[in-house]
Each structure stands twice: as structure tokens, then as C-alpha cells.
């Protein structure tokens, strides 16, 4: 989807102001997402270019998030930020103020990792001296210092686990955090008791190292999701933020979407999205509805026509009357369908959760049994508790806690390098199970760009003439003709005057003849006998009839063939007419297709497939696909998708090629294999460590060695995912 339509300056300024927040006094900050930033040179160009603008106080580019934070003075004219960025060669989108509030969970985790890491390393240094033979007072002193270091770490960093364990216990569940918390607390308590009574062994190092490793796993998991979240948030927003509303005194003022009510009169410039469902009062134009209905050809509108929120006004300015407030518009209807679909879909249990369901009772039981067993054997309470604590610590899912997040983190990095965002680690698990893929047509299998069909059947002169006319308009059909004419490389004819008639076409005069390129009923003097469509006419006589195709997404054919070879069913569900859908399906070799579907039909179609035992993946981009994306088992959307669809999808790909589908399938299969291997390693480790712990052979030294080595093995195994896959790479 092209974003270079001219923007009405007044609306653009209002939007810019709405997206900003007050820093201090008259200083305001606006955040922009600039996906094109990729190197140090970009940073220099943007910071220099924007820094030179009047009233700009401070510019800072963030290369990691591809964002620009701009502070400007409120009490002076607005700086021309977005146009300047466009002149520098960057596309820029405003970021809503709500989405730049940082990441409190992430920084809490990072601080907890830092504190536990500090404690673990220092305690380890002291523990090594004890293991090397420090005895008596020295050992006691070192144990006391260790306790002093471990206590704040446990309170500060451990609360993340205690909180989660407590909330699950309160609801009479157990999760992985219960044995972790129990192990941490009992190890600390036991070691403190032993330190007071001059005991030989203390497990301070084990409990802090455990904390450190487990928090690292959590942090990786969180960062993966956070990175995808900011990347997706940074994409262009396809919902209008507000609109120019007529005030009581007759002037227009830019108002946020939430303040717009039914009955208000709005002004909509060419290139703007329709903010709320509305009716056209005055003006003619054409609307791009592809994101809303899946229709690939623009639709002409005239006074009296109803508009749906989210459609794009292409050629002429319109005055419209809102027929519903934003929260009662088409978008709200989609939200309602999505909620219904979400409720109908069973919750997915992540593989780590399922593993911990099996694991947690085993660990608790083993610890309890070894306590009872040793009580029966020698009746020594202290020894029995020490053994039980050793069992809890050594079986604590250190490797397990890292096994899944580490692999998924590496998978996300691989996909990120291929410009595919993954929103949730569990999607990588789910996608391995799918056996059926449903594609939307417009914008998914196709690019949503029109191309002229059969350009070579027109004479070069006719094409050049039409191309020269088409160059004057931003209408997708005009641009397709202009593009085809540029390929034909013929000389364009000179005109005396050219003007665009919004909603109809382009008109030119040259030496008494009138050329028209546009809709049949406008361009032709005798349109009734001709079939409707786009014509080039000379004084009302038809010269050529143009038809258009939606351009196929790169690699679509190969991907469909590849999926069929993997015996995954392929199907098209589109809101577009039966003719274009069946033509496309034939061209791609897809045998199952449904056309003219309403949004609810798509979701129902997926639900039907699901109930007949299929695991369905939905790939779609439109607002009308959003309910289907939610009801599918796994979902994917291109970056050009509507906001709602993009936020509902598990994967979002930022490049054009449909290869993203097979890349994700490949990476998911590899990571599933590595996760299984990691689980096997963890089980093997426990098969050796658990009996040793039950029998009382595990000293703090053994526990430290076993835990660290198993974690390192699991991490090293996950790192293998970084290798590029064997075989040809796209």
C-alpha cells in the first residue's frame, strides 16, 4: 500500500499535535516511527535535518526501535517534521502517545537479574573458598557474609517468583513458580540455620545462582515479545486519529476521534482515511476499500453514498456527515466479532506449562518422600530436611526454565533477521500442528497494487497518450496505466491543458480535441452501449478499454506449491467478487476458494474447518479478516494489514514476499526439535541428579556444578538455531 498521497496540511498538523505529549512548560514531545532507519548514516541525516528546523528543541534517533523522539516548542509554529523526513528519504508515522510509555515489566526483570547476578557472583567467590577448605571461623564468617548478600537478592529479585507462586496457590493451582519459591525459601532458611549452628554446608550460592538463571530465562522470553510489540506498533496506523470537524461558527477544527459524534459534519481531504461511518454530502471521489471489503478496484462515490470507517479517500475532497460515533462504527462491529471468535477458541497450554504440570508434582513428591524416607531410616530431622532441600534445589527447573525461552528467543532473532515479527512464543509451537492454510486474496496473495492487464495489446501511441494522462492522477488505475506506458517507452503527446475531475478521471485538451481517461459514463458520449470500466476516449469516442489485475505477491506461486508438497491444504477466502477470485485461484493452482464473503462468514468458515478436525492457519490483511485471524489456530498478516488485523496476528511479516509463510514453518520445525532435545537433556540430567540428591550425595558444590553445567548445555543447544539452515536460502 502506497502512503505518498498528498496530505491536507491542516489535518496533518492537527494529527501531529494530537500525537504529542507535554514534557515541560511549552516543550512537547512527539514520537515518530521511521522504519527506514538502519545505520549510523541515517541517524546523522535525521538528527541533522530535523535539528535544523525552527522550533525543534531536541532530536534523538533510536536505532534499536527505529524511532525518533522529537521535542519542540509549543508556543511557535509547528515544525515541518514529516515532510522534512520524507524529503530526506524516510517514511515516517506518528506513534500514539499511549504506546511510548516504556516497558516497566522488562526493566523490573532486568534490575532483578542485575541484583541476583551480583549476589550470585559474590557468594560464589566466597563459596569457592569454603569448598577449597576454609574451615571453622573463616567458613562461618563467609557463610554469614553470603547470607547477608543472599537476603536482599532473595527479597528483591525473588519476589517475582513469590508473587506468581502466591497468586496461583491462592487459586488452588500450582505452577512452576511454586517449587521454585519453595526451593529458594527452604534453601535459604536451612542454610541460615546451619550457619548459626556452625554447619559445614550452606546453599546460599545455589539459591542465588538458581534465581539468576531463572530470571535470565524470564527476561529473554519477555524481551522477545517486547521487541515484536514495539516493531509492530511502529508500523503505519491505518485508523484515522481524528478529523476536521465543522464548528458552530462554520470554521473547521481538527478533533480527536473520541470527540466525533453522529451528525457532525467532517471534511475529508484526498489521501485521508474515513474516520467514522459516514454519508457523503458534497464532492465526488473514489475510495480504496481493499482493507475493509477485500475489493481490489476502487469504488466511485457521489453525494448520498455511505462510507465505512477505515476506507481511504483517493482523488477528491469530500464533505461528509458522520452517521455513527467511532465506537459504533464498522471497526467496533469487527471488534465484537473478534471477541466472539476469541471466546470460541480454547486456550492454548504452552509446552513449558504442560511440562511443568507433570514436573511440579514429581518434584514436590520426591522432596517429601526423601524427607520421610530419611526420617524412617535414621530419624535425624536436620539431615532429612537438608536432603529434601537438596532435592528441591537440584531438580528445580533451571534448565527447564531456560530450555524453551532460549530456543524461542533464537528463533525470533532468526525470523527478525528475515523481517518477520513473532508476537508470542507459543505461536511457534502451534504452527507446527497446522494442516490447512486459508489465505485472503487482496493484499495477501496479491500486493494490492493494480497492474494493467494485457498491456502489449494496446498500440504504443494509445498507451503513451493514456500514460501521459494517467501521470496527472494518484488514482491506482491511472498509476497502473502510467506505469505500463513507462515500460512501453513511447513518446507522450503534448497537451494544452490537463485537469483531474475527482471521482471520474483525467481530462486533457490539445488543439480542439478533448481526451478523457476515466469512467465510461463520463468519458464516453454513448456509455450505455459499452460495458462499464476505464476508458480512454477522444471527443467521447472510445479509443481503448483498460482492465486491471491485482499484482501477485512475490513467490506466491512457489509458496503454494511448497505448501501442497508438505501436504498442507490451501484455500482462499475473499470478500472480493467470484470472477477475480477464481481467476487468481486458477493461476496459483488452488482448488478451494470462496468469494464474496462477509467478515463473519470468514470466521465461520474457519470455525467450521476447526470443528471438522483441522488445525487452521489464517493469513490475511484486511479489517474484514480480523475475526478470522482470531478464530484461526495460528495467524499471520503482512505489515500493510489494518491495525486490528496486525494486532490480532501471531506473525507479521514486513517484507513483500509470501515466502514468510514457509520460513516460519521451517524455523518453527527446527525450534520444536531443539526444544524436544532440551527437554530430553533436562530429563536425563534429572535421572542422574535426582537419585543422587535423594540418597544424600549432593553437597552445595555438586549442586552448583550440576545446575550450571545443565543450564550451559541447554543454552548452547539453543544457540545452534543461529546456523543458517542447510539447503538453498531465499
Amino acid at each position: 500500500m502506497d502512503m505518498t498521497y498528498p496530505h491536507d496540511t491542516h489535518a496533518a498538523e492537527g494529527e501531529f499535535r494530537l500525537a504529542s505529549r507535554v514534557v515541560k512548560g511549552h516543550l512537547r514531545q512527539t514520537d515518530l516511527s521511521v522504519p527506514g532507519i538502519h545505520c549510523g548514516g541515517c541517524i546523522r541525516r535525521i538528527e541533522k535535518g530535523l535539528g535544523e528546523l525552527p522550533n525543534v528543541a531536541h532530536v534523538r534517533v533510536n536505532l534499536s526501535t527505529r524511532r525518533v523522539a522529537l521535542q519542540w516548542h509549543d508556543d511557535a509554529p509547528l515544525p515541518r517534521v514529516v515532510p522534512t523526513l520524507n524529503e530526506l528519504g524516510f517514511e515516517a508515522y506518528l506513534v500514539a502517545t499511549t504506546s511510548v510509555e516504556g516497558d516497566p515489566v522488562g526493566s523490573e526483570l532486568l534490575r532483578a537479574v542485575a541484583v541476583s547476578g551480583f549476589a550470585a557472583l559474590n557468594i560464589m567467590a566466597l563459596s569457592v573458598s569454603v569448598w577449597l577448605g576454609a574451615a571453622d571461623e573463616t567458613r562461618d564468617l563467609f557463610h554469614w557474609i553470603s547470607a547477608l548478600l543472599a537476603l536482599p537478592a532473595l527479597v528483591y529479585a525473588g519476589r517475582i517468583f513469590f508473587r506468581s507462586a502466591w497468586s496461583s496457590l491462592r487459586h488452588f493451582h500450582t505452577n512452576m513458580d511454586v517449587p521454585i519459591s519453595l526451593g529458594l525459601l527452604m534453601a535459604f532458611g536451612m542454610s541460615l540455620y546451619d550457619t548459626m549452628h556452625h554447619g559445614q554446608h550452606a546453599y546460599f550460592d545455589a539459591s542465588t545462582t538458581l534465581l539468576f538463571f531463572l530470571l535470565t530465562g524470564r527476561l529473554l522470553d519477555h524481551q522477545m515479545r517486547e521487541k515484536a510489540r514495539t516493531a509492530i506498533k511502529g508500523l503505519a496506523s491505518y485508523a484515522a486519529r481524528g478529523a476536521n470537524v465543522r464548528q458552530t461558527n462554520g470554521s473547521f477544527a481538527y478533533m480527536p476521534l473520541s470527540d466525533i459524534d453522529a451528525g457532525m459534519e467532517l471534511m475529508l481531504a484526498a489521501g485521508e482515511r474515513v474516520p467514522v461511518d459516514a454519508v457523503v454530502m458534497t464532492g465526488n471521489s473514489e475510495l480504496d476499500q481493499s482493507l475493509i471489503t477485500g475489493e481490489s478496484l476502487p469504488v466511485a462515490v457521489a453525494p448520498g453514498a455511505t462510507l465505512r470507517a477505515g476506507t481511504l479517500n483517493l482523488t477528491g475532497p469530500l464533505t461528509i456527515t458522520a452517521s455513527a460515533a467511532a465506537d459504533a462504527s464498522f471497526l467496533a462491529e469487527m471488534m465484537h466479532l473478534m471477541e466472539a471468535a476469541e471466546a470460541g477458541r480454547g486456550p492454548y497450554r504452552r509446552i513449558a506449562d504442560r511440562a511443568s504440570d507433570l514436573y511440579a508434582p514429581v518434584v514436590h513428591l520426591a522432596a517429601l518422600l526423601s524427607f520421610i524416607g530419611w526420617m524412617l531410616i535414621n530419624g535425624d530431622v536436620h539431615y532429612a530436611i537438608t536432603t529434601a532441600v537438596a532435592v528441591l534445589i537440584i531438580t528445580c527447573p533451571c534448565a527447564l526454565g531456560l530450555a524453551v525461552p532460549m530456543v524461542q528467543m533464537m528463533a525470533a532473532r532468526r525470523l527478525f533477521a528475515e523481517r518477520i515479527m513473532i508476537r508470542d512464543g507459543s505461536a511457534l509451537e502451534r504452527i507446527n500442528e497446522i494442516d490447512h492454510i486459508v489465505f485472503d486474496k487482496t493484499g495477501t496473495l496479491t500486493m494490492g497494487h493494480l497492474t494493467l492487464r494485457g498491456a502489449d495489446k494496446f498500440s504504443p501511441d494509445t498507451l503513451a497518450l493514456a500514460g501521459a494522462l494517467g501521470a496527472r492522477s494518484n488514482h491506482p488505475c491511472s498509476r497502473a496505466i502510467h506505469q505500463a506506458a513507462a515500460d512501453a517507452a513511447a513518446q507522450p503527446a503534448p497537451f494544452d491543458a490537463v485537469r483531474e475531475v475527482p471521482g471520474f478521471g483525467v481530462e486533457a485538451e490539445a488543439g480542439g480535441t478533448t481526451w478523457r481517461l476515466g469512467r465510461a459514463e463520463w468519458a464516453l458520449s454513448d456509455a450505455a452501449t459499452m460495458e462499464p470500466g476505464t476508458y480512454l476516449a477522444c471527443n467521447g469516442q472510445p479509443l481503448a478499454h483498460f482492465e486491471f489485475d491485482d499484482m501477485l505477491r512475490p513467490d506466491a506461486r512457489e509458496v503454494v506449491r511448497d505448501l501442497t508438497a508438505r501436504s498442507i491444504g490451501v484455500e482462499i477466502m475473499s470478500g472480493d467478487g467470484a470472477v477475480p477470485v477464481s481467476r487468481l485461484a486458477e493461476g496459483l493452482g488452488i482448488h478451494h476458494f470462496k468469494a464474496e464473503l462477509l467478515p463473519g462468514d470468514k470466521a465461520a468458515g474457519i470455525a467450521k474447518l476447526t470443528s471438522s478436525g483441522h488445525k487452521v492457519m489464517m493469513v490475511g490483511d484486511g479489517l474484514n479478516d480480523a475475526p478470522a485471524l482470531v478464530s484461526a489456530y495460528v495467524s499471520m498478516a503482512p505489515a500493510s494489514a489494518a491495525d486490528v488485523g496486525r494486532n490480532a496476528a501471531d506473525f507479521v511479516f514486513l517484507h513483500d514476499s509470501l515466502r514468510a509463510v514457509t520460513s516460519v514453518l521451517d524455523v518453527a520445525r527446527q525450534s520444536a526439535r531443539l526444544i524436544r532435545q532440551n527437554f530430553a537433556l533436562a530429563v536425563l540430567y534429572n535421572a542422574i541428579a535426582l537419585p543422587a540428591a535423594v540418597l544424600g550425595y549432593v553437597t552445595p558444590l555438586v549442586a552448583a556444578l550440576a545446575m550450571s553445567s545443565s543450564s550451559i548445555i541447554v543454552v548452547a543447544n539453543a544457540l545452534r538455531l543461529r546456523e543458517t539452515p542447510r539447503g538453498p536460502k531465499s
Partner: protein
Amino acid sequence: MSGFLYLVPIALVLGVVGLLAFLWALRDGQYEDLEGAAVRILFDDDDHPDQ
């Protein structure tokens, strides 16, 4: 034994200083753009992160 009395506190204080420095850097936003920091060191002109 007497060596510990000053060596251990010194080691711990150094560790705490490191930890506090990290937490300060985190709060100061120095970890917000690691990729950007890597390329900014190559810029010739001074780059003041003034607020």
C-alpha cells in the same frame, strides 16, 4: 584472617559500586538503544545527550 577484615569489605563495596552504576545507567536510559550506541561512537562531531 586479619586480611579478610578489609579485603572482603573492599571486594563487596566494589561489587556494590558496580551494581549501582549499572542500575543508574539503566535508569538513565543508556540501555534503550544499544544498536544506536554502537554506531554513534564512530561519529566525528561531539554528540551531547543534552536533555
